[in-house]
Amino acid sequence: MGVARYIKNDKDEILDVILQSGIHIKPVYTRKDMEDAGFDPEKDLAYPGEYPFTRGIHPQGYRSREWTTRQYTGFGTPEETNERFKLMISHGQTGLNVAFDLPTQMGLDSDDPLSEGEVGRVGMAVDSLRDFEAAFREIPLDRIGAGLTINAVASIMLAMFQATSEKFGFKKDRVSATPQNDILKEMIGRGAWIFPVKPSVCLIGDTIEYSMKELPRTNPVSICGYHIRESGCSPAQEIAYAFQIANTYIEEVLRRGHSIDDFVRGFTFNLNIFGNLWEQVAKFRAARKLWAKNLKERYGAKDNRSLLLRGIFGGGGYGMTKAQPENNIIRGAYYALAAALGGAQTTALCSFDEAYTIPTPRAALLSLRTFQILMEEIGMRDTVDPLAGSYFIETLTKQMEEKIVEEMKQVDEMGGMTKAVETGYVQREVARQAYEFEKGVQKGELIKVGVNKYTEGEEMEVELHEYRLGSAEEQIRRLKEVKRERDNRTVAQLLKDLENAARAERNVMPYLLECCKAYATVGEMTRVFKEVYGEFKEPSIF
């Protein structure tokens, strides 16, 4: 497993197809294949909106509601980002997905020496509430939900979001945020971790517990198979690891004495869409079913709303190429098709220029148009789960289900996801496959158009987003202003209260909210956590 392969004879006829998840594809499927795979239409399918939800979580699919579009957006100062948000909304985007710069993701202020060169580069800079106020100014937060793509300090950002929406006069039961808030996947794939595993999971528990009572429309976690797949794992592992991560967070909240049906409907997923189209569609269908089963059988959930796998199916970054970048526009369209056929609630697409830099407005709008064309022009809203009943798709969905269960079992045998991450088991598995994949591409076994076949030799000119050095200076100047103008004694006291709460293992969210309202900075709050929790040490995987 690791690389999708085509076995061909010398006449270029395909003898076998092996998907990345390790499943062999046959040339022709019949009813017998479905039966051999154990497919039972009553048990495996039912109707859309009914258990086990293989066909989707809404009875009417996209007829009742189109998907939400949320391009990953953010750069420079919050003011610059606010302008881009408004541009995307004016062109029909229906949600936000905020990109933060690396200092913010790592809990550092813009004037920290470690932030030098990174302020506002891959996302917008946030130091204090002032920045959230600037970023969300004139955004109808009761209508537009905000994804906050941040993990180690997601609790701080959620508090910022609440403080901002309150300040703008939105009721807290009307606003909806989706902080990404999935630290285990950061430890596996994306690397923006700060604190050790245990307190990190505890912070996630705090946000879930708090949202349950205070922010009922907020989805406090978005569990990301996405980045684990980007880092190298197979589609089956993507789902298995995401579910085992989710189980870890579930158990953290159960440990606090809450009942599963009181909180789990706030869980959402972030899953990837690149690769073999059929494998992705089968993956999404199998995932919905297994998630419902996981909740029902493993955790005894009774409320139907607890069983729904909701998510953003999008991105596709690793499928995109630097060579012949315009090809990524076409790839993106196919990947978005996979998301639609897979029944995504929300989507986003990496833009064609992202192998070079963060997207230009033109590139971001092309991604948005891709979704709009799918939904408005070619019939994606016509009927729910259009591939259901296909001999091939139903067989493959059953086979994917088996593969996912196998992978989940391996993690269970290791003692759960926390152990699997602390020992580096998943990281090793992911890195090994990333290497296999790359070797496959370089040997030409795995075709990437424009990279190892149909190459053009000449490099194409791409219009690049320009990083504005001035925005870092502006950001630092504003941070200094905030520190001058706020009541520093109150801030110091509130930070002390936060520290005491963290040490006493009380839920830190109410304390963070007070700190944010008093314009304490991200760096100051993170420093408190570092003092109390310490820092994560990466396991050595080589």
């Binding site: 690396l102 200092p103 993701q105 790592m106 550092l108 470690l114 932030s115 030098e116 060169g117 990174e118 580069r121 891959v122 950061e186 794939g189 994306r190 690397g191 923006a192 971790w193 980007e230 880092s231 190298g232 190429t321 630097k322 060579a323 192998a355 070079y356 830099t357 963060i358 890195a431 090994r432 990333a434 290497y435 790359e438 070797k439 370089q442 990279v451 490099e459 690049l464 990083y467 990466e538 050595s540 995987i541 080589f542």
Partner: protein, 133 residues
């Protein structure tokens, strides 16, 4: 016996996207080099210190965030200050073509943007180290 080439694969700065660094580390190892991987979130000072301790021939930086110019500038300046100029510095990651001459001017000898075949960077390193010794 010929001494194996020692190379430090380093992730400077705050970016945690390490798929590329880990893939390249495995390829260099399979090509017979001794590879030391720093792990994430390394400061320039930490990288130089590890490079000195491990007595490496090559420092390979992997940078995806777009901050390659300021990071490389800082590293080269500090290496000069410490009179640590025996190691060859190479960089890979998301590097736009137009920045390659700027990096070379700073003294970064090899630039390998994402998608560079393993064979190409391995061959470059081997030949380059041979010439230096």
């Amino acid at each position: 016996m010929e001494r194996k080439i020692r190379i430090l694969v380093a992730k400077p700065g705050l970016d945690g996207h390490d798929r590329g660094a880990k893939v390249v580390a495995q390829a260099l190892r399979d090509a017979g080099m001794e590879v030391i991987y720093t792990g994430l979130h390394q400061t320039v000072d930490q990288i130089i210190q590890t490079a000195l301790q491990e007595d490496v021939d090559v420092i390979g930086l992997s940078i995806m965030s777009g901050a390659h110019l300021p990071i490389c500038e800082k590293l080269m300046k500090k290496m000069k200050e410490k009179e640590f100029e025996d190691a060859t510095v190479v960089v890979g990651g998301v590097i736009p073509t137009r920045d390659i001459p700027l990096l070379q001017k700073m003294g970064i000898e090899g630039v390998f943007p994402g998608g560079t075949p393993f064979d190409e960077s391995i061959k470059w390193i081997k030949e380059h180290i041979k010439q230096r010794t």
